[in-house]
């Protein structure tokens, strides 16, 4: 599992969960989905639920911030960190 695979899965989820977004290409990878209005607080919680189930990891409440979970690339990086720490 690499970052590109994770990004692709996250984009798939967002387009499916929020059809008004349009296509995956329309979602910036480095901008806050919260600021862009693609996700709201409830959507973030649903997304955390999806991520935890899909990759069998646990996202801490304190990690659900713009800095750690705001954009697609940040989410993917956090997921990779979690997966790596599980393997070690």
């Amino acid at each position: 599992m690499n970052q590109a695979d994770i990004v692709a899965t996250l984009l798939e989820y967002i387009v499916h969960a929020n059809p008004t977004v349009g296509t995956k290409d329309a979602i910036p990878l480095d901008q806050s989905l919260f600021t862009l209005g693609i996700l709201d607080s409830f959507g973030v919680i649903e997304m955390v639920g999806f991520v935890e189930k899909r990759w069998a990891i646990r996202i801490l409440d304190s990690e659900i911030t713009d800095e750690r979970f705001g954009g697609i690339n940040k989410m993917a990086k956090l997921i990779l960190e979690k997966l790596a720490s599980d393997e070690s």
Partner: protein, 176 residues
């Protein structure tokens, strides 16, 4: 009085804490011209005091939303029973841009609704939303509120205790 989760607490606003009362006015006025209100007038101190004094302390509840990690007040939320039908309450929630945790609005809304249904033992919660406030309408709908009234300016939505709990059961771990 406090209602809390691991991330936030709701601290009840009383006349004994004038800073909290003033915080409500500040937050309310900060949303002028942002498609949040139909009535966009600036609320002066006297008008705000009169409104607060008109509340029924047994039936109208307003809280400051405080993020525990920063101890910062990040918004206000409330439940008014005084003007609502029996066994129900009208909710309100306003978040400033100060919240550091993306989940704070979710926690605040969920806490308020659990407070209404479990502590106050109400059967139903209402929300009155300005039609142009699409973000609030989507957030409200995500919790399971259903529209039951609409005019040129507002929509009104409602949710029962049973529907809310069924909707949020899978998210309870976020509220531990």
């Amino acid at each position: 009085m406090k209602v809390e989760t691991s991330l936030i607490e709701l601290r009840r606003v009383t006349l004994g804490n004038p800073n909290d009362v003033e915080f409500i006015r500040t937050v309310r006025n900060s949303f002028l011209n942002q498609n949040v209100y139909a009535d966009n007038h600036f609320i002066e101190v006297d008008e705000h005091q009169s409104w607060f004094l008109s509340l029924d302390s047994e039936k109208d509840w307003f809280f400051i939303i405080v993020e525990k990690v920063s101890r910062l007040p990040v918004g206000i939320t409330g439940c008014c029973q005084k003007k609502a039908p029996a066994s129900s309450g009208e909710i309100s929630i306003y978040l400033t841009k100060e919240n550091k945790l993306l989940a704070s609005p979710f926690h605040a809304m969920t806490l308020l609704l659990y407070f209404m249904f479990d502590t106050l033992k109400l059967d139903r919660a209402f929300a009155k939303l300005f039609k142009k406030n699409s973000r609030a309408i989507r957030f409200n709908a995500a919790f399971g509120f259903r529209k039951f009234f609409e005019d040129d300016c507002f929509i009104k939505t409602e949710i029962t205790a049973e529907d809310f709990k069924a909707k949020t059961e899978s998210f309870r771990r976020f509220l531990s």
